[in-house]
Symmetry: C2
Subunit: 345 residues, 2 copies
Amino acid sequence: FNIVVLPGDGIGPEVAAAGVSALKVIGEVYGHTFNFEEKRIGGIAIDTDNNPYPEDTDKACLAADAVLLGAVGGPKWDLGKMRPEQGLLAVRKSMGLFANLRPMEVKASQIHRSPLKREVVEGADMLIVRELTGGLYFGKQTRTEDTAIDECVYTVAEIERVARVAFEAARKRRNKVTSVDKANVIETSRLWRETVMKLHKAEYSDVELEHNLVDSMAMHLVTRPTAFDVIVTENMFGDILSDLASVLPGSIGLLGSASLGTSGKGLYEPIHGSAPDIAGKDLANPIGTLKSVAMLLRFSLNLLTEADALDAAIDAIVEKGVLTKDLGGTASGSQVSAAINDQIR
Amino acid sequence: FNIVVLPGDGIGPEVAAAGVSALKVIGEVYGHTFNFEEKRIGGIAIDTDNNPYPEDTDKACLAADAVLLGAVGGPKWDLGKMRPEQGLLAVRKSMGLFANLRPMEVKASQIHRSPLKREVVEGADMLIVRELTGGLYFGKQTRTEDTAIDECVYTVAEIERVARVAFEAARKRRNKVTSVDKANVIETSRLWRETVMKLHKAEYSDVELEHNLVDSMAMHLVTRPTAFDVIVTENMFGDILSDLASVLPGSIGLLGSASLGTSGKGLYEPIHGSAPDIAGKDLANPIGTLKSVAMLLRFSLNLLTEADALDAAIDAIVEKGVLTKDLGGTASGSQVSAAINDQIR
Ligand SMILES: CC(C)[C@H](C(=O)O)[C@@H](O)C(=O)O
Ligand SMILES: CC(C)[C@H](C(=O)O)[C@@H](O)C(=O)O
């Protein structure tokens, strides 16, 4: 298997290294060979290539079986014309990563860290499926001296393919999809709702479907997070709601993400940022990346046993209390990584 | 003073009646005459006028000193071509209500109802200023069989006037403004940030200003709600974030809103919906409307003593525990209304 690794900026290289080492251990134990190719993205690519997503990186990503990303960004590039995040948007577009999957689950051992009351958040377990290559993110942008315009565009085909991912995922979970839009105000949301309803009727009527307006949804995520299974929504709403959902379990460092394209290609990254303040100190929690690696095994390489083994190893180490500082522990990032590797072995 | 009352649908008429009766009592006590003119908006206007915002209503609103609105909407009109909410959007546009103000404050006596832990939410006290007549809400909309497009437009003038409202409000509060955008992705947000920064530098450098991306902001509202004073943002982000903020104190029934145009004109309404399930049963909590009436007195009529008196009367009755069912009490809506009226007297 050919894996492209994009360490990126800040703590990105540390957590990506933990991901690579877990894959190597899985390779040993289960008899697979992973070839790793490291490429630049984000701030470091701006510094060396004057381009947050160099050609060379793009070629490698397009040829790979899967891409593992650390994190991008940092204050160093905040004022520049070129921004590290452009690298993220570029790889999403180039690889056609139209579906971003963010599972969020409340762990019993971490629930005391949640900002929500235990009785509100206990048992919450959801998957947010965010459309990732459409909407305001990739629409035409116009700017004159005193006016700016962003275009938000969606087609039926774009909505259908991401809704399909949500319905399929729901069938493997608790069989419920909540589609989020703002159909009482905007046209793209009306098309969104229509398309999801039609697809549901034609192919997924066995799955429970509900529609929610984005403003109510923001409230419900906080007041009754246990009411949801799979949530599907457009790019900008998904950006906001998935970040909102991510803080509910109290441990953002435990969350990974998958961004899927057609034909099983995918990019996997933790949901946390590049945390430049703690970079290079071996403090970064590698678990978000390892959860992403488990998804990489599952979705892009179809190595289901291996994925389950990694997930189980992570859970075991978390329950044992081998935790980095962000989760109230004293272990270094490499200690957590090593403990999980031992557990896999 | 000429007040137009738009009772609307569901519990709208009940809570609007409570607002009118409080104004009458204030008129008696402080020697003012309020003339009330009742007009139709929303579902009821669709039924009788085949228009969610009839001409006649529009004329009255444009001529009034202030408008008091109950609530609009209900399942009855959910499948129709004409929707009650169009009435809301129409009155905002026609009256030029460009700034929506939503104060959110955690009451000690209600904190146990919050979904957040006490130590997270205690002391939170913020004002969300939402741009209300621009952005995706009023941009050009295009629809073909398989594509939908929404245009998001902002001009410097639109951004400046709402930012000004936020800075002015901050000076009367804790002197801090958090401006929310998605400047790392969309053009309107880049113009938003630039414009807010320029205005700050030119006229409000005494006010502390910070910028936050909308996705982080959704997280921060839940993890550290006490960090904010005045929050200012564009229409759609404001819709989402103000609803999110509204559930944090655990008592949405206590929150009111003001939508301000130029020259002191304004529309005032509780933030809750039309709650058709409890309509006509005298269960609706009138306090959101009464808080809105206090803002009406303050912002449109410049009756500051009267506004403070109403706010104080509401606080006293809440602390006394005269509460409707939504807040865990047993009082009817009209009992709460009467208790507050007595308190004013
Ligand atoms: C960095 C930014 C462009 C990006 C986004 O908005 O998509 C990030 O917030 C994310 O969610 O991956
Ligand atoms: C009903 C709807 C059009 C409206 C909006 O989105 O502005 C509502 O959610 C609000 O916030 O007043």
